[in-house]
């Protein structure tokens, strides 16, 4: 009797589990993986990974075991309503992920959702099928990289050793030659190497021609350095001060391709390009690399209401007027024209001299960007009446003293 009941119970258990299993399978089994992949990449991948990883929202691995299909559909179609209904799981989820609410996908019906679930499942199966090889490959590349650094060091050290050996060999040969010549001339007492060297110097300095040649060489080099130095007075070319925060333009403007005007907001609008306020840094760094000590300096500055004291690199003298917007917005020049390749600089350096001659060279050579700018119409007409050449900045008063000095 008892046996029979237990048998029945087992059968029932088996049936229910297999049923529920097949029911759980249903959702993803119905869907088309290819459609799902497209939908997932278009709509979900920005915030969800197919695996365990948390991107913005939770990873979707095993989502069908965690929640049943009906709940998932309700959630995808209107997450706000599910949270508002007081569903405990939904509220916990909302709290856990910094109260960031998922976008509602109201247009998604059963076929879409099922295809996405099918894709998530197949992506996880594919990932489970080939994990070992990938991990091994990753390790390999890691050790190789470290090995590369070591190899470079070994090459450098061995080069150094070879050079020292060559130096010793040369000195030995010199000594031998000296000995031979001395023996040939007169078989006097053997002199040490240092004494020989002293002798050589003494004869060289004693020789008037050599002495004068050396003095003239230094005089010429010295006067060149003097003139270079005099011309360099007030020219800050090569100035690359250490900034309070080790901000890399190479990373931000180069690799991340952030436009200059995103941070230097005034560059197309005003005289000054401007230094970004901390809130612009925080547009990205509220999330990215928050724990970095350099980023923490910005956080400290904001908390203490202290300005970050950046060091100005490009600084024209007060006696010359310069306006960014005239050059960027009206003339349409690129920032690189005057600032060099900032997007390749780890520390910003003044690449050009920014002297008056440098300004004027450009004003002589550059055509006025008069396209689509009615301000230049009359000037262009007047210019074309007397000249066949294109209108340069020089032709409209770009070399007048008072254009910049007033």
């Amino acid at each position: 009797m008892f046996k029979a009941i237990s048998k029945q119970f087992l059968l029932l258990l088996f049936l229910t589990t297999s049923l529920s299993y097949s029911f759980a399978q249903d959702a993803s089994a119905d869907g088309d993986v290819a459609t799902g992949e497209k939908l997932f990449k278009n709509n979900c991948a920005q915030c969800h990974a197919t695996g365990d990883a948390v991107v913005v929202g939770p990873g979707l691995k095993g989502i069908e075991e965690r929640r049943d299909y009906a709940w998932l559909k309700k959630w995808i179609n209107n997450p706000a309503a599910v949270i508002a209904s007081g569903d405990k799981y939904a509220v916990d989820l909302y709290e856990k992920y910094n109260k960031t609410q998922m976008t509602a996908f109201q247009s998604f019906g059963d076929p879409e959702i099922k295809s996405i679930l099918a894709y998530v499942k197949s992506a996880n199966e594919a990932a489970a099928a080939a994990p070992a090889g990938e991990v091994a490959g990753a390790n390999d590349s890691g050790t190789q990289e470290a090995g590369g650094g070591k190899f470079f060091n070994i090459v450098m050290v061995s080069l150094l050793v070879i050079m020292v050996l060559v130096l010793f060999a040369l000195i030995a040969v010199l000594g031998l030659l000296n000995k031979l010549s001395n023996k040939n001339a007169d078989a006097g007492p053997e002199k040490s190497f240092v004494e020989n060297l002293k002798n050589i110097f003494a004869t060289a300095i004693g020789n008037k021609t050599i002495r004068n040649a050396i003095i003239w060489l230094f005089l010429l080099l010295g006067s060149k350095a003097t003139f270079d130095g005099l011309y360099g007075i007030g020219v800050h070319q090569g100035y690359a001060p250490t900034q309070p925060i080790a901000f890399s333009h190479k990373l931000h403007a180069g690799e991340m391709e952030i436009n200059c005007a995103y941070c230097h907001t005034g560059v197309y609008k005003g005289k000054q390009a401007g230094i970004p306020s901390s809130n612009i840094c925080m547009n990205c760094h509220n999330t990215i690399k928050r724990e970095s000590p350099e980023i923490q300096k910005i956080y400290t500055a904001i908390e203490n209401d202290q300005p970050v004291e950046w060091v100005r690199v490009h600084n024209l003298p007060d006696l010359a007027y310069f306006n960014h917007s005239q050059h960027t917005n009206v003339a349409g020049l690129d920032c690189e024209n005057c600032h060099g390749q900032i997007n390749k600089m780890e520390v910003v350096e003044q690449r050009h001299s920014l002297t008056m001659g440098w300004c004027i060279d450009c004003h002589r050579q550059t055509d006025v960007n008069s396209k689509g700018n009615a301000y230049y119409d009359a000037l262009l007409e007047a210019h074309n009446n007397v000249s066949g050449d294109p209108m340069k900045v020089e032709d409209i008063g770009g070399l007048e003293c008072a254009r910049c000095h007033y």
């Binding site: 939908l39 278009n42 709509n43 920005q46 915030c47 991107v55 913005v56 960031t100 609410q101 976008t103 509602a104 996908f105 109201q106 247009s107 998604f108 003095i215 230094f218 005089l219 080099l221 010295g222 006067s223 350095a225 270079d228 130095g229 360099g232 007075i233 007030g234 020219v235 800050h236 090569g238 100035y239 001060p241 250490t242 690799e255 991340m256 391709e257 952030i258 436009n259 005007a261 995103y262 907001t265 197309y268 000054q272 230094i275 306020s277 809130n279 612009i280 547009n283 990205c284 999330t287 990215i288 202290q306 300005p307 100005r312 600084n315 003298p317 007060d318 006696l319 520390v347 350096e349």
Partner: protein
């Protein structure tokens, strides 16, 4: 002869000194300055700080505006239309910060669409949005790889979002995106809206 030698030695020493002086190159120094009173402004200038300012906090030339100052710029909402009639638009400032639905329903773009306006919007998009939202608005900009959660404009949830909603998001931020009101003027935001609406159509 001795006098000549002395002169020679003097010249020699002098040239070495100049050579050393000329070749010292410290990237942290601007080099020799002559008549700095012609170079450094006596008046206080923005973005130039060559001496500490004794009046302002932190010794800076810049000052924060007086508390309660209203930025006039934000009220610059008059736009010229093609037939040179003016649109006076103040409505957007009545939309509260938490009413994104209302913004989408009530705000309409005061700048009429034209090819040149969309082109301007594209330039502004490239300057202010592209590094996250990507060239085609697919949320695949270089920064998005690290920032995460940047949506695709042409995704099913966003492709029908109205212009007022987009304007509100630029102004106040949404989800992980923060407010860009300090960087992008209202007029520029509406131009960007025109271009984003082009991107919503997808490729």
């Amino acid at each position: 002869m001795t006098k000549n030698n002395k002169n020679n030695a003097l010249l020699f020493g002098l040239s070495i000194l100049l050579f050393v002086l000329g070749s010292c190159n410290n990237p942290n120094r601007t080099g020799i300055e002559f008549a700095p009173n012609m170079y450094n402004s006596r008046a206080y200038e923005a973005q130039t700080q060559w001496r500490s300012n004794s009046i302002n906090p932190h010794g800076m030339n810049m000052r924060e505006p007086v508390a309660g100052t209203v930025s006039r710029r934000k009220y610059n909402t008059d736009f010229m239309q093609d037939d040179s009639s003016m649109v006076h638009d103040l409505m957007m400032y009545d939309i509260p910060k938490d009413s994104i639905e209302m913004a989408g329903r009530l705000l309409t773009n005061p700048i009429p669409w034209s090819e040149s306006v969309e082109e301007e919007g594209k330039v502004l998009y490239e300057r202010n949005c592209q590094h996250c939202h990507g060239t085609g608005g697919a949320g695949d900009g270089k920064v998005a790889e690290y920032y995460k959660g940047v949506p695709n404009y042409s995704s099913d949830a966003l492709k029908n979002i109205p212009g007022g909603h987009i304007y509100w998001v630029i102004t106040n931020g949404k989800g992980r995106m923060w407010s860009h009101a300090s960087q992008v003027l209202p007029e520029e935001r509406w131009k960007i809206v025109h271009y984003v609406q082009r991107l919503q159509l997808g490729s």
